[in-house]
Symmetry: C2
DNA sequence: CGGAGCTTTGACCACAGTCAAGTACCGTGG
DNA sequence: CCACGGTACTTGACTGTGGTCAAAGCTCCG
């Protein structure tokens, strides 16, 4: 699959997943072509580029085709909460009454398709099957946010970190499943701001996980994982 | 509005809200009639009734028309995280690959419309405007889950509690806005399991808020609020 | 009026948040 | 290629919020 191909990462709520799509929704060649027609390819070469900020007019919806990005909210006291990391196949641009609710920045070079919201809205009304895919994606993201809530509410720092690493290892572009090598695209601060703790706790947690023998730091951003043991530590039922 | 009327509680992402709907999406008389035709009214008389459990086959999607319910996940160690409270106009039945992901129970007498998922799926494909409303509702719930994430990650117990009370006061059936009297339909344990803390912290927080003069306990479940001061305590930007 | 469940209060302790300092890594320019 | 500077990461010490256990009081329903 070419790196700029249109694909939506989601598992559907009602149908069991069939066969080969992996974590991506089935989109026909025609549907892809239709989306490409109303969309616009756009890319950011550098890390840390702001794509849009909270409060800006939400003119576009973005589909991330390559790279990693983060969506965050900054509290009045300067603390930051990352509400989502975006990976290839994710949709960005969550809005409320016409304005973006979060700020989104790149964590690597990124490529997107973007769609004018006003135009997309009309387009989806006349393409129910494609609208359905966006609906399924929203439901998918809602499930993820709820799972993140469970982690934040009931898991301690170490288990939150383990769960985060497991989640990262689901993304084939960043996890070599043959050698079990995970390449993290974000800093300790980013991880901390995502799992609701401090960068020190992240570092100490990595140290403890390494002492337990379930990960091995080849470099600060390159981890060799024992996935089964990591999952056992998280132990949120058996996801 | 009759108590069993079909309505969806959501604020849309792209259009600014117009005039009189308040927190509910505009549904035409025809659209309501269509939904009533494929739906089925159902009610639970007692508090604590389980509507469905995690892992069950997701045969139905539910629309809550009256009452309050909770969706939760129980960890292997017995701890519980409530991921959502449902109020009139909310949609329940979040599923993944054909099974419910959370368990949902009533917190009061409740009435619902329910829809067979297989049938609803087909129905929505042939009624794009109605599908759009469900899409908007999913986006709305995603925003709420993300806001909850910010609270869990960056607010201390007291501010989480204040934020929760403010959220509850948005529901007209339970908040008398004239006298500023909020009637809580859930226990301290429920609140604690929702905001990610313990029932003791909830009680102590209520005590501190009362000492600060921003709430007054008429009974354990009946609170008189000073809404402006409460919002000031939360101070997540200015929502 | 009785009892079960809910709520409140107290005492203790540990996890993790904060501050501070030192180390490793990496890209840049000489 | 190497030196350098800035950023990212790591480690240590201290502190405080909030988690836990225990027990008593309150409320509401039967």
């Amino acid at each position: 699959m070419p790196p700029d191909e249109i694909r939506i990462r989601a598992v559907p709520p009602w149908q069991p997943v069939q066969g080969e799509e992996g974590p991506f929704l089935p989109l026909s060649v025609d549907e892809r072509a239709e989306l490409r027609r109303i969309g616009q390819a756009i890319s950011f070469k550098t890390t840390g580029s702001q794509i849009f900020a909270r409060g800006e007019k939400a003119s576009y919806l973005y589909l991330l085709t390559d790279g990693v990005a983060e969506a965050y909210f900054v509290l009045p006291n300067g603390e930051r909460q990352i509400v989502a990391f975006y990976w290839p196949g994710d949709v960005l641009g969550l809005a409320e009454e016409g304005v973006y609710v979060n700020t989104v920045s790149t964590l690597s070079a990124c490529t997107f398709y973007r769609f004018l919201t006003a135009q997309l809205d009309q387009f989806l009304l006349s393409h129910p099957a494609i609208q359905h895919q966006f609906f399924v994606k929203a439901v998918h993201d809602l499930r993820n946010a709820q799972r993140q809530l469970i982690m934040m509410g009931r898991l301690n720092g170490l288990r939150r970190l383990a769960a985060f690493i497991v989640d990262c290892s689901a993304h084939e572009d960043y996890f070599d499943s043959k050698h079990k090598i995970l390449t993290l695209p974000m800093t300790r601060y980013d991880i901390a701001d995502y799992i609701g703790t401090s960068s020190e706790v992240v570092t100490r947690g990595l140290g403890r996980l390494e002492a337990m023998g379930v990960i091995h730091r080849l470099s600060p951003r390159t981890l060799e994982l024992k996935t089964a043991e990591l999952r056992a530590i998280v132990n949120l039922a058996d996801y």
